[in-house]
Symmetry: D2
Subunit: 340 residues, 4 copies
Amino acid sequence: MLVVMKKGSTQEDLAGVIGKITQSGLAGHISQGVERTVIGVVGQTYPELRDILEFLPGVEEVIPISKPYKLSSREFQHEDTRIKVGDVVIGGEELVIIAGPCAVETENQVLATARAVKEAGANKPSTSPYQFRGLGKEGLEILALARAETGLPLITEVLTPHDVELVARYADILQIGARNMQNFALLDEVGKVKNPVMLKRGMSATIQEWLLSAEYILSQGNRQVMLCERGIRSFDTYTRNTMDISAIPVVKKLSHLPIIADPSHGTGKWYLVAPLALAAVAAGADGLMIEVHPNPDQALKDGAQSLTFDSFQQLMSQLAPVASSVQRKLPAKPGDKVDQ
Amino acid sequence: MLVVMKKGSTQEDLAGVIGKITQSGLAGHISQGVERTVIGVVGQTYPELRDILEFLPGVEEVIPISKPYKLSSREFQHEDTRIKVGDVVIGGEELVIIAGPCAVETENQVLATARAVKEAGANKPSTSPYQFRGLGKEGLEILALARAETGLPLITEVLTPHDVELVARYADILQIGARNMQNFALLDEVGKVKNPVMLKRGMSATIQEWLLSAEYILSQGNRQVMLCERGIRSFDTYTRNTMDISAIPVVKKLSHLPIIADPSHGTGKWYLVAPLALAAVAAGADGLMIEVHPNPDQALKDGAQSLTFDSFQQLMSQLAPVASSVQRKLPAKPGDKVDQ
Amino acid sequence: MLVVMKKGSTQEDLAGVIGKITQSGLAGHISQGVERTVIGVVGQTYPELRDILEFLPGVEEVIPISKPYKLSSREFQHEDTRIKVGDVVIGGEELVIIAGPCAVETENQVLATARAVKEAGANKPSTSPYQFRGLGKEGLEILALARAETGLPLITEVLTPHDVELVARYADILQIGARNMQNFALLDEVGKVKNPVMLKRGMSATIQEWLLSAEYILSQGNRQVMLCERGIRSFDTYTRNTMDISAIPVVKKLSHLPIIADPSHGTGKWYLVAPLALAAVAAGADGLMIEVHPNPDQALKDGAQSLTFDSFQQLMSQLAPVASSVQRKLPAKPGDKVDQ
Amino acid sequence: MLVVMKKGSTQEDLAGVIGKITQSGLAGHISQGVERTVIGVVGQTYPELRDILEFLPGVEEVIPISKPYKLSSREFQHEDTRIKVGDVVIGGEELVIIAGPCAVETENQVLATARAVKEAGANKPSTSPYQFRGLGKEGLEILALARAETGLPLITEVLTPHDVELVARYADILQIGARNMQNFALLDEVGKVKNPVMLKRGMSATIQEWLLSAEYILSQGNRQVMLCERGIRSFDTYTRNTMDISAIPVVKKLSHLPIIADPSHGTGKWYLVAPLALAAVAAGADGLMIEVHPNPDQALKDGAQSLTFDSFQQLMSQLAPVASSVQRKLPAKPGDKVDQ
C-alpha cells in the first residue's frame, strides 16, 4: 500500500500518517519526490486501512499494490488447478463440455437431453432450478435419474445457504449464479462442502471482484473452484449480455483456477452460441457450458438461447479442429476408441 | 406484445406465429405495413412468450409494450404510497432522514451516534450488520437499546431468507442491500412479513429491473416498499459508484413508491455526500440515508464515506432551505415547537 | 510514477528498470517491501514512459501518481476561474443561464425564443448548427440578429477546425460538442482564438479524460475554458443519457474551471429537465444550459427535450430559492432593480 | 413506427396523434388491445417524427420498428460485400492481415516492419499519424516508400475533413478512428472519395450507431466500407478496452460489410493480442489489424500493445489452423506456391 501525500502537505500531516501506520503494527517508508512525498506501507495491510489513511489530513490518495487475493492467484500457485469429477478432469488438456437444459421441466425432457448430449460428446448435463423451485427435491431426483442412466456428472445451481446441504447430496458440482457472486452467506456455505464449485461472474463484476469471491470460497477450505464467464452488462442492448472473451486469457494470467465459458447466457441468442463458443476455446477456455433443449421453441425458460440436438452436434464437430489448433481436445465420445 | 415479422417472411411464417399465439390462449391482430407486417398480441401475455415467439421462423423481433410491473406502477395506483413507522411517515411532505453508523461496532458508538443524529434532526438510525455478523443477535440488541433510548425507529439489513424472522422482530424496517436486489428467495421472505422494506438498487440494475424486484415483494402481500438509489456502476472510477440522481424523478413518474437517496454509498467519499444530498432532495427524493460516525477515521468500515456529527449537523442546516424550495420540510427536531 | 516489481523478479530485472529510468533523464528510488520492491520515479515523467516501463521484464505494474493535467488543476490555481462575456461573469456568485433553441430553424423562432428567455431571466441563447448546416453562415447571421436585438451573448457549436475562424467572428462563446471532446485537431484551433470555450463532456469520457481535453485547449494559450456536464452513457436506456450530477462537485474539487450543467441533453426528456436543473444547482453548478422552443412539438430537432416558454419561466422561479440556499443567485431580469 | 397510447388516454388524444401522422404524409393504423391502443405508422418515417409523436398528449411510448439503416443492411444486400485493394480482396475466403506500426517514427522503423510483416504473411502495413502530425506529409511519403518496396497496400488514418484529399492520394485505404466515428463532417468527405474506408467502432457506440455511421458514408456514394471492432468501454479497467467479440457475428448477421478485428487496441496489452486474434477469427472476422514494432519497448506510442516480429510470426502460425477450422485461409506468403 502506498500513501501519496498532497502537494503542500505539512510535516505534521506526514507525522500523522506515519503514526497511524505504526499504530496498526506496520512500518512506513518515506520516499521524497520532486513534487510529492510517497509513503510505502510495509507489512501485512488490510482493506479497511485504505479508507482510514485516505481520511487523514494531507493525504492525496492511497494506492493498494498487493493484489487483494492470494489463494486464487497464480503468484501463489504456479500450476493450473485441475478438478476431478468422476472420470472427468476440469482444467486439463481435454475440454469439459457442460450441456443440458437450463431448467428441469419433465423427466422426459431431461433424459432425452442427457442422452443426446452424451451422444454428441458432452461430459455433463447442467440445470438451474431457478424458475422451477416448485419441483425442488423432485427436480433433483429427475436429474439424479439422468446421471444414473448416462453416467454424466451433474451440476446444479444452489440459491440459498440453507439449500447447500441438500443440493450437495445430489449434484456433483454446485453452481453459484451470477446474481449470487457476492452473496457471501452463500459463498461461506459452499466453501465448507466437498463438492467442486462453479462460480459465475456477476453481471457487472470486475475480474478482481470475481477473483475475490473465488478467494472467499477457497479461504473456507474448498479448493475446487472453477470460474465461469457468462457475459457482462454493457451499454449495448442487442445481445442480452456482452460476452467478455478477453476475461479468459486475463484470468489464465492472474489465476490458476479453471475457466469455463457460457455463450448461451453470454449472448442470449442461439445463433450467436456457436461463434462465441469457438472464440472462447480459441482464447483458451477450459470448457463450455451450453444450453440444449429437445424443442427450444417450447422451452419454458431461455428457449431463445438453447441449441437443438442437431445444432449442438454440429457445434461439437466445428469445435474439434479449433480445439486442436490450441493444443486442446474434445472429450472422447461414447463410441470413440480408447486410444484416441 | 408486438411481433414484427421479417421483410420477406412468408404467409406460412405468419400462420405459424398466429398459431402459437392462439395456442397460448391469446389473440393475434395482424397489421400490414408497407415494409413489414406487425402482429399485436391481445390478452394477458407472460415474459417467456417473448422468447418463444422470437424463435419462430420469419420473426424479426418481439417488442413488449405493457410494462412488466403493475402493483408498483403509477398507472395502477395514482396517489403516492405513504409508509408509517411509529410517528414517521415516509413519502409525505416531511423528508425522512435515516442517519447512523454503517456497522455496529460497540454499544457506545451506536448510542452516541443515535443521540447525535436525533439532536441534529434525523428520524432514524440505520445499520448494516454485514461485516459484523459475528455480533449477530448481540448487534441487534445494541440497536434495540438505541431505539429504546432515543425513540428513533430502526432499519437493518437482512442478508439471508433464514434471518428474516429474527431481524423483523428487532428492526422497524428491513433493508435489502444492492447485492441482494435480485435474490428472489430473500425477496420472497420479506414479502411475507409486516415490516416495511427498503429495497436498494442493484449496482447495475436498470430502473425497470429495480421496479420488478419491488413488484416481487409487493406481489407476496407486503405493500410497504420504499426504494433507495445508492449509485450505479459506470466506467468512471473516481467515485466508487455513480449516483443516478435522474432515477429519482424517473421513479416518481413510473411508480407511487417512496424513494430515498443514499449519497454515502452513492459516492464513497465524505466530501461528496453533502452536495449529492442537496441534489437528491432538489430532484424530489423523499428522504436521505446518511452514514454518520463519531470518529470516521477510526471506523472499521466505510469511514471514508461517513460524516462526523458536526458535518452532519451542517448538512441538515443547508438542507432546510433546499427542502422548502421544493415544498418539502425537514423532520421536527427534539426541541422544536409542536406547531412547526 | 511508481514501478511495482513482480514477486520473484530478479536483481537483473531491477537493474534493467533503473537503467531505463536513468536513460530517460530521471532518477529511480528503490523501496524494498516485504513482498515487493517498488521504484519511485523522480523527475518530470511523460505518459509514454508508463508503457515503456510496463513492458520491461520483472515489472508487475506502473502506477502514475502525478495527475496528468496541470493547468486545469486546482493544485495549480487555487481560485476559481471567472470568465467575462459582455456583462456576464461565468463562475461567480451569479449563475449563468444559457437558454435557447437547439437548432436554428427560422428567424422568427430564434428571435421569439431569445426575447422569451431574456424576459424570463436567462443571460444567453444557445444554438447548435448541427442538423442545419445547410443554413451555415445564414444561420449565424440570424443568431447575430438575435444578439443585436436582445443584447444576449451568443454561444454556438463549432464542428471542424476549418470553421473555427468564421464562427469565432459571430459567436461570443465557442462550444465543443460531446462527440468532439477528443477531436484534438479541433481543440488545437479553439485553443488559439480569444473566445471563451465551453467543452462538453464526451458520452463515455472519464472526468480525467475530460480535464485532459480542457488541458489541451489551455495549453494552446486559451485560458477561458468552461466545462459542461451533459450526461454519460450507462447501461440504463430509460433516459437518453445518465446525468452525472456527482461530476459537478468532483470537478469543483479537482479544477478551478467553471462547470455548467445541460439537463436537456443529459436526460432527453422535457419532464426531467426541471428536477435535474434544480439538482445541478444544488450540487454546485455554475450555470445551466436549457433547450427552449416556442413549439417543442413542432421542433425539427430535440423537441422532446425542449421546454416551452411557460415551463422555462416556471423553472426559473423554482430555481431562485434553490440557488439562494447554496449562496448563489439568478441573473437579474430586465425589469429588476439595479441594486438587486 | 408504433405509437403506444397510455392507459386512460382519450379519444381526443388519439385523434391528435392520427392528425399529426396524417399531416406528415403518413397513415395511422389503429389497433385496440385489451389494455392499450397501439397505432402503426405506415409510410416512410423519419427519426425526428419519434420525438414529435412522443411529445403529444396521451402517448406512452413510440417504438421504431424499421431499422434506421438500409444500405448497410443485409436485408438490402444479401451477399457479402467484397472490397478489392490491389491484389487483396477483403471479405472473401482469404483473411486480410493488416500489420504495422501504430505511428511513423523513422523511415527505418517503417521499412523494417513492412518487410518483416510481409515475410510473415500480412497483406498490409497500417499506421496512424496521430501523435506524429509533425511529420505530416513527410510521414505519408515514408509510408509510400514502404508500399513501393514491398507492394503492400497502405492504410492510414485521416483526422480532419480538410486532410482527406491529401491522404487519399497516398493511402490505399482511409481509416476513420474510433474517436471520429460520429464526426459527420469527416464521414461526409470520405464518402465522396474512391478509396475504401475502414470505420472503427466508437468506444461507446452501440452496434446500431456504428452501422448508422457506415450508412452515412455509403449514402454519400462510397460503397467500399469495412468495419473494425477495437474494443468498447466497460466498467472493468484491467484491459484498456473490452474487446466485443460478439459484435463480429452480430455485424455479420445484420450487415453485408466486412469486419476486421483490432486486438491490439482492443486489449492494450501485447500478451492478450494472440488469444483475442484467434478468438476473433474463430468468431468469423474477415481479418485482423495488429500492431507490430521492431522494438516495442522503445516505441514512442502504444509499445505495450505491439508485437515483436517474432511474436507476430508465431501468431501467424497459430492462426492458420484456426482459420481453416472456420473455412478461411491466411494470405499466401511471398515464398508460397501460387496454387496454394
